[in-house]
């Protein structure tokens, strides 16, 4: 973030009209981007917010009908509250997403850190390993979902076979089909796919630590373990933090992988899957938009925390 307000300091003495011309030029250069962003981000977002205050079945209603906050909450005749804010399915989706996010981000970070530390040490096959960990990252998410889907397959999946030989599964069972282990199984897919990304970001952080710091620590007789906790980890914190926040934002939005493996199954329904189900599958654009707005708010609150905390660290 240190570079977010760049110094484009020109030579002093440039006169005002040159500056004015340049700033007009800048607007023209930016105009196409601004128009496109307004069209694909600004307008759809406003439209979603508007729709969230309407009742609108896209298949049967000719036009959205304004109903105020009723999608979010309204009082039934007997006085109890109903609507999205008291919708158990929504809160279950939130809880599922939070569990998914926390467990996959924590595991990815630990695994990524481990991989990065191994790759950062000097050994002969280092380049090979560094290249190999790019493979899961390069595999499209949809493909990784299907690859794991096959490995989890109940009768012919290799992981189900391993589960059977470890006594964890009976014949015909699988980790994804069982509602109790399904979310964990999905976390494993996500971790496999993204731990390498973490490792790369952490590796970049590790390589920016000057080696003479370690030499100094060696001279002082600090053990390797002590060096890790006193030197490596603190210096790595900024890189780790950035990677962590990025992955958290991604995981909170997750849609494709759980959707491909489990579809709309309730035990693995994330917030995004729930929103799409309401909107597209059930054609409830009003209610679905309300779900989208809540997701947007959650992500934006998190982003604001992220931007402000990064500023504190880097400015």
């Amino acid at each position: 973030m240190a570079t977010s307000t760049p110094s484009t300091a020109r030579r002093p003495g440039r006169n005002r009209s040159v500056e004015a011309t340049r700033s007009r030029t800048a607007i023209w250069l930016l105009l196409p981007t601004i128009i496109v962003l307004a069209l694909v981000a600004g307008y759809p977002l406003l439209r979603t917010i508007y729709l969230s205050f309407t009742e609108y079945n896209i298949n049967t209603d000719p036009a959205p009908k304004g109903i105020g906050f009723d999608n979010y909450a309204f009082r039934l005749d007997d006085g109890t509250l109903s609507g999205l804010l008291t919708d158990p399915q929504w809160w279950q989706a939130v809880w599922t997403t939070v569990k998914f996010t926390v467990s996959s981000v924590v595991l990815e970070t630990l695994l990524g850190l481990g991989m990065a530390l191994v790759i950062n040490s000097k050994f002969r096959a280092r380049g090979l390993l560094r290249t190999a960990i790019l493979v899961p990252w390069a595999v499209p998410t949809v493909v990784s979902a299907q690859m794991w889907n096959w490995m989890y397959q109940d009768n012919f999946g290799i992981i189900s076979q391993w589960g059977r030989s470890l006594g964890l599964l009976e014949a015909g069972q699988s980790f994804v089909a069982n509602p109790n282990t399904a979310l964990g199984a999905l976390v494993a897919v996500d971790v496999w796919k993204t731990a390498p990304f973490m490792a790369l970001l952490i590796l970049a952080g590790l390589q920016s630590i000057p080696s003479d710091m370690y030499e100094a620590a060696d001279v002082d007789g600090a053990s390797k373990v002590r060096q890790f906790f006193r030197l490596t980890l603190p210096l790595l914190t900024p890189a780790l933090l950035v990677a962590l926040i990025f992955r958290t934002l991604d995981a909170l939005r997750v849609f494709d992988m759980p959707y491909i493996v489990k579809g709309n199954a309730p035990e693995t329904m994330t917030m995004s899957i729930y929103a799409r189900q309401q909107m597209i599958d059930n054609a409830q654009f009003g209610y679905g938009s309300a779900v989208s707005v809540l997701i947007f708010l959650i992500i934006m609150i998190f982003t604001v925390i992220y931007v402000t905390s990064l500023r504190v660290r880097f400015d």
Binding site: L37, T131, T141, S144, I158
Partner: protein, 282 residues
């Protein structure tokens, strides 16, 4: 620190075991997909758990192109991803020049908006985008996908290219301005050649993003006229879970993944630096 040689060797051995475990972990799922894709579909139920295909066959690969509109899906994916990259690079080169080298009001506000858009959850704009795409007559077309993909490609390319343009010495641009070059001439004749490496990296990452996108592609396409590969692979299925033609799914998966792996291996240095630039700076 001198260690005793035996201990040293044990540590060495453990380290190599660790390296092998990591290699196995990251590569095995892909190997398994590869193996399955070469297994004769008629024998899959008997040999699914074997570590090597007993009689390798191209059967699944042939079936993917004959029984399914997979060729069409591939063509769509290529067209959409290429269109997305070309348009977003064109727009972002202009913006990056303005944001990186010009001074004007509201610049940092604009930077924050762009950063904000880059973390937009796609689902938050899905409803609005759906109606926009329909209203513009772009439903079930490449255009609809290319337009909607701008929401994640454009902020990313603008952001990374801006941080790159900033690093270009001001003298280069000033010399051109003094020589009387117009802003566009300066940009395309002087800045662009210097920007090539950054363009390659961001273009590649943008391409991968568009190539892999699933939610919009699933929602804004209905037929194989515009359906892209991820949707095709995601919805490959038989009548029940037991009838999934996994041999074919794996063959299709391998087909779309191999080009990416090759690209990633060729450009691995650039990708790592591009990712870290994108991450550290937003």
């Amino acid at each position: 620190m001198r260690k005793n040689p035996v201990l040293n060797q044990i540590v060495q051995a453990l380290f190599w075991v660790l390296v092998l475990i990591i290699l196995f972990y990251v590569l095995f799922p892909f190997y398994w997909a590869l193996k399955t894709s070469f297994t004769n579909p008629a024998e899959l139920s008997k040999t699914a758990l074997d570590w090597f295909p007993s009689s390798p066959t191209w059967e699944n690969y042939r079936a993917v192109f004959q029984g399914q509109p997979f060729g069409r899906n591939l063509f769509n994916s290529l067209g959409v991803a290429a269109g997305t990259v070309i348009i977003s690079l064109l727009l972002s080169v202009l913006s990056a020049y303005a944001l990186g080298k010009f001074r004007f009001r509201f610049k940092s506000a604009l930077m924050y908006i762009i950063l904000g858009v880059s973390v937009f959850p796609q689902i938050a704009v899905l409803g609005g985008m759906y109606t926009t795409v329909r209203a513009l007559g772009l439903y079930n077309t490449w255009g609809g996908l290319i337009l909607s993909y701008m929401i994640f490609t454009l902020p990313f390319t603008v952001w990374v290219l801006t941080s790159f343009v900033r690093e270009i010495p001001n003298e280069l641009e000033e010399a051109a301005v003094v020589d009387g070059a117009s802003p566009l001439q300066t940009l395309f004749r002087v800045m662009l050649p210097v920007m090539t490496p950054a363009l390659v990296t961001t273009g590649l990452l943008g391409f991968i993003g568009a190539w892999n996108e699933f939610l919009f592609a699933l929602t804004f396409t209905t037929t194989d006229v515009a359906r892209t590969v991820p949707v095709a692979i995601g919805s490959f299925s038989g009548a029940s879970q037991y009838e999934n033609p996994f041999g074919q799914i794996m063959a299709a998966s391998v087909i779309v993944t191999i080009p990416l792996i090759v690209l990633v291996l060729i450009f691995q240095r650039n990708i790592v630096s591009g990712l870290t630039a994108g991450a550290v700076k937003g």
